[in-house]
Symmetry: C2
Amino acid sequence: MAPKVFYISDGTAITAEVFGHAVLSQFPVEFETFTIPFVETIQKAEKVKQQINDCFITTGERPILFHSIVKPEIRDIIYSSEGLDYDFLNTFVSPLEKQLGIEAQPVMNRTHGKSNLGYDSRIEAINYTMENDDGQTMKHMDKADIILLGVSRCGKTPSSLYLSMQFGIKAANYPFTEDDMDNLKLPEALKRNKSKLFGLTIDPNRLHEIRQGRMENSRYSSLRQCRIEVKEVEMLYKKERIPFVNTTFHSVEEISAKILDVTGLKRHMF
Amino acid sequence: MAPKVFYISDGTAITAEVFGHAVLSQFPVEFETFTIPFVETIQKAEKVKQQINDCFITTGERPILFHSIVKPEIRDIIYSSEGLDYDFLNTFVSPLEKQLGIEAQPVMNRTHGKSNLGYDSRIEAINYTMENDDGQTMKHMDKADIILLGVSRCGKTPSSLYLSMQFGIKAANYPFTEDDMDNLKLPEALKRNKSKLFGLTIDPNRLHEIRQGRMENSRYSSLRQCRIEVKEVEMLYKKERIPFVNTTFHSVEEISAKILDVTGLKRHMF
């Protein structure tokens, strides 16, 4: 039976999930997870405690708890349950207090709150990325922090969105299409923003597979066409000395982190 | 002087950032942060160690380290630096090994890797959300997991994108425009998906401010118009018993977590 895991928080529980997921992914087993956000009252905490205890009674195993609850009176209720507590937040707060010589001032919802510095600029980055997706317009390329290039379905849109959402980066993207292939070159608006260009490429077989899912048995999705496009685009990257990354085996997190690492763009946290 | 913080990883360093950010946000001070991803070789680890030690020499304070490095020989190099180690990952791995009776099998890049179950369905959710943003088409509403409603600029697009990116939810969104206001009602495609509808609302003064930034001194951005639209839309939500949330003081994380909490939609982790 899959071990049971509770992610509990008085806020969104996103931090508890991200952290717990990182720890649990070190283990070669599947877990069954339950996320309980917004545990802000004694009543709700008591209900969660009951749920944990019921789970223990049913399974005979103590469930694993990852929580990030700021209010002590609520945290204590969770502590008093039959779950096994991996209190990732508080474990590190008191050594940090010592090191910094500063007392922590826990505030609910601060981690993912809107009061974060630069929240508006993050929304601006998301809007920018939406409006400059897929080469819809070249008018605002000068305002981009980064411009992703690549053939259709190589991962430009999800990567651009992740860059804006997670890191507050204004990411435009520009597609090279079938019609460009005879004489592949950079449009003027990209040429004058050369230092912002970053290429994506992909294995032609994987590209073929993805495009088949969109438009089966078309010229667009044919392996031949995929091979031509990828080859031409990679040649352009090399000729123009545009850094590029192969997305075939990488997640949007990895692609985005790689782009920031190579370009030196500053990551913002929200 | 702001305490110095290093986020170090052999992967994307996103987990280290999210975790460190959660811990540090409990303190009422500003930190200066440096993120160093992809520390995969001894050489790179040695360079990072030098950077940490230089920072200590320059500032006279031991920098704070949050790292999630899987390979012991690389981790040991970081351990041997002058930084103070908050090894959030390994601190919890060995108690978990005991509880589970299973040995951890650390694998690099597993946390944010592409091998995660359901990665493709996440990309599908992102594509769905892009293609069904802002009521562009009503054709695919039946395929949505959730449909966000609201007036222009109340937060529909960033919230939809966050739901798809973070949680793998197919989130469509539909705007109510000025022209709808005389006789506000739900289009047919929304009526037949009533159980998926979720409303957003916003303080009219804040809406006015946001719209002024887009189209200054227009009818669209006037406080009068903002007030009318918000009032009409809230009345519709109440009449149709559509759950809704006020976005004025909430981040996309909070809005999204609230929507999932109220609707009971399952959160996926990537």
